[in-house]
């Protein structure tokens, strides 16, 4: 059956809806940009620690990974925002809780990328760096990471888009993001078709922005270690043109 207002709504509604959705989009971008450094820092720290010689460090890393990869981010957000206060008697600000949950979750996935990319750098590079009397730290920072970084970027591109997608769940802990705004608009009687189409477009534009930034970084990283620069037009997500480490389950 057809609902009356499914007849082409006036174009004016798009301009009416736009400012509200932009408020939500700003919050989405804020949470995504807030969680990105958290996730990146965790990815590198955990990725490097997972190669540690100490069993107990590897054990802690393992627990973190299983905890945050074994559950959906929606459960983690609920837990951090609603369940944790019962234990600590202290409730985080919703946006902060969202940033923490998204950062912890994506850091776990990112650490696999970092670990794999470091493992993919040929052993001879280590040996050469040691032969040149580099300290372990210098080996890592000056020789290994710049090379690993080239392989990491395409995978991190996916992870970053994944991070953006994961922020779409912060509305469950009362953050007024894009999804929350769209719910409000739908509930106040605006056309679901127009509202949700606009939401999709905003997410697409943000994802494209991420891919553009990462392409640029990839080309720069490749040039720095003197490799062929990948063409700008390449299907995303590893078509084999860039050596990405095989991941045991680098997906989310």
């Amino acid at each position: 059956m057809m609902i009356p207002y499914a007849a082409a709504p006036a174009l004016g509604t798009v301009t009416e809806i736009w400012p509200y959705l932009m408020d939500g989009a700003r919050v989405t971008v804020l949470v995504a940009l807030g969680a990105t450094p958290v996730a990146l820092a965790l990815a590198f720290v955990v990725g490097l620690l997972s190669r540690s010689r100490h069993v107990w460090i590897r054990g802690v890393v393992r627990v973190y990974l299983e905890l945050f990869r074994g559950t959906s981010v929606i459960v983690q957000m609920y837990w951090i925002f609603f369940a944790m206060p019962a234990l600590t008697g202290y409730r985080l600000d919703p946006i902060l809780a969202g940033i923490v949950a998204v950062g912890l979750h994506m850091g776990a996935y990112g650490s696999e990328v970092v670990r794999g990319a470091i493992a993919a750098v040929p052993r001879t590079q280590w040996e050469a760096a040691v032969a040149l009397n580099f300290s372990p730290f210098q080996c890592m920072v000056r020789v290994i990471l710049p090379q690993a970084w080239v392989g990491m970027v395409p995978a991190l591109n996916n992870n970053w888009i994944e991070l953006l997608k994961v922020t779409s769940l912060v509305s469950v802990i009362s953050v007024a993001d894009l999804i929350a705004e769209s719910n409000t608009l739908r509930n106040s009687g605006y056309s679901p078709l127009i509202v949700m189409t606009m939401v999709m477009v905003v997410y697409l534009v943000l994802a494209l922005a991420i891919t553009t930034i990462m392409r640029f970084l990839e080309r720069r990283a490749a040039r720095r270690v003197g490799r062929d620069v990948a063409p700008v037009f390449r299907t995303r997500r590893g078509d084999g043109s860039v050596k990405t480490a095989p991941s045991a389950g680098g997906l989310s």
Binding site: M1, M2, I3, Y5, A6, E66, L67, R69, G70, T71, S72, I74, V75, Q76, Y78, W79, F82, A83, P85, A86, L87, G89, I161, L164, K165, V166, S168, L169, V172, I179, S182, N183, R186, S191, P192, L193, M196, T197, V199, M200, Y203, L204, A207, L208, T235, R236, R237, A248, G249, L251, S252
Partner: protein, 218 residues
Amino acid sequence: MNWDWDYALEIAPEMLSQGLIVTVQATLAGAVLAFVLGLLLAMLLRSGRRWVSLPTRLFVEFVRSTPLVAQLFFVFFVFPSALGITMSALTTGIIVLGVHYSCYTAEVYRAGIDGVPKGQWEAAVALNLPRFRVWTSVILPQAVRRALPVLGNYLIVIFKETPQLTLITVVDVLGTGRILASESYRYLEPITIAGLFFLIVAVPASIIVRRLERRLAQ
């Protein structure tokens, strides 16, 4: 406020009976749909005709670039109002999960097909097998075998992401927990039980998948 064992033991059976059935339904049906549709999409992506492969590529990229929640809301609210298609929340959830993850499994199948050695194609041509037989008897069995561990991973991923269906009013394990929490004002136990449930299933499952991967790699 601390962990209350009495309350936890009181709600656990309810969460893991009614809620569990819905979670399992959504997981299995969503996964079957994702695995079947994914193969279809992989074939369309490989098509030599640009007017087939290009729109498929665009569709896959679109689905992978937008959040599952947005897609759930889109189908759940827009389809009834704009297209007059009304489905139950669970059906909507299963279809959206299936289509969403089929765009990921398509890539898995594609890698599996690309991984079949060239000699197999040549041998099939040499035997003068019809095109259809080449696919069904030679290429796909090998490609799917290669893809199995990753598909196993996606089964776990789909299982873990089913709680998102609570946002379109599906009452699964997390949904039951949410309802109980709102009745008792105790969030700690229901949410922790839900989280532990997903961990207890997902972690061993991913270890099994890793073993399978190693066995197939030999």
